[in-house]
Symmetry: C2
Amino acid sequence: MKLKVYADRMSQPSRAVLIFCKVNGIEFEEVRIDISKRQQLSPEYKEINPMGQVPAIVDGRFKLFESHAILIYLACVFPGVPDHWYPADLFRRAKINSVLDWHHSNLRRGAVTYVVNTVLGPVLGLRPDPQAAAEAEKLLSSSLSKIESIWLKGNGKFLLGGLQPSIADLSLACEIMQLELLDEKDRIRILGPHKKVQKQWVENTKTATSPRFDEVHNVLFKAKARHQEQRAKSGSSSNTNLPSKM
Amino acid sequence: MKLKVYADRMSQPSRAVLIFCKVNGIEFEEVRIDISKRQQLSPEYKEINPMGQVPAIVDGRFKLFESHAILIYLACVFPGVPDHWYPADLFRRAKINSVLDWHHSNLRRGAVTYVVNTVLGPVLGLRPDPQAAAEAEKLLSSSLSKIESIWLKGNGKFLLGGLQPSIADLSLACEIMQLELLDEKDRIRILGPHKKVQKQWVENTKTATSPRFDEVHNVLFKAKARHQEQRAKSGSSSNTNLPSKM
């Protein structure tokens, strides 16, 4: 039975898992769980992931959720996945685990909270909280600084000085791509000071996973264009730029 | 060269790493990094962990931070650590990774935010934010419910139906022990409805790691007694109970 990946491409951890499968030639069936229709909370989906979140996988009789755990599982059980994604070497693996763990309470928490409390809240029927957005921006900016000064220290193309990407590059780069949904002025204010993140490392990750990276992110670029059009029509923003692809 | 563990026993992930080392007979030197004196932010410590957090380890020339990554590393590289802590079986290992990943944005986020915005803030020189505390309590309560209904589903003694504890049991149980610092009325309101967590699973984890669990938590029990005494003196609380050890 083919691997099933339950995902919504608007969700950054979903995209990381989908890109990983595609880049590594893992045969799978993508089952769309539409977050905007709250399908992740349906009783049927909660049989797959009782936490009601995407992504999740079903591999034979085995069910798994949490994207980092999924990426590690796929890297370990599917033959032919190149070692650089999650090295067998315990020291390199430990460092990748450290980046992945750090991600949760820093880059992810900052980015998700900021996006939800600005552009995505209204789409999901939530009221944005400006104070929460301001605090999230601080965490997000400090996380981007730390990526540059700590994880991207040195001359490597990827996190931890790697010459090839690991699952940490993929997970964190997909998180940063979520900022594409922001108003241009917000996106430039937040990402602008972090050229090494934006212009080098995310680009390197995209190139290393081309053309799958853009293919899976296409939904995000379309959503961005749609939101901008809506905001322009409603007059809440003067910004009608076409979506940057960063 | 002996393993060095940089830790503050007032920090729950520090305690998890210390208990793990002691229970598994791993020889190590404990280096105290006093958070109340902001030693985690000193230039010397930032050479060990540039993120300025505890715990961290140095094993020979190898430095590592983030407690889950540390626990996984220790379980994998130290000979003689029983398999149940982090099983070689990829399916069981994947499920443990899933619990550990879930922990970050749920139980940990709820518990840390609640404790800091109630009892711990004033000790650390931070002003508690009642709205943040109220939101954190919701996340904390919902996380405790999910531990009971999902991770402790069935009749196992430990998370995921285990008969013996894994590193996930240790990490999450140490997080819940942090609630010992709360005022009794708050602790009872939050933990009271979750008997399976409080009376069974945390007790099972404590018993399985006895006497190391209480030994490492002793600092916490003393701090609780001290805080209660201070609050009683300042008249901000009528509660002068001796500390429960849950």
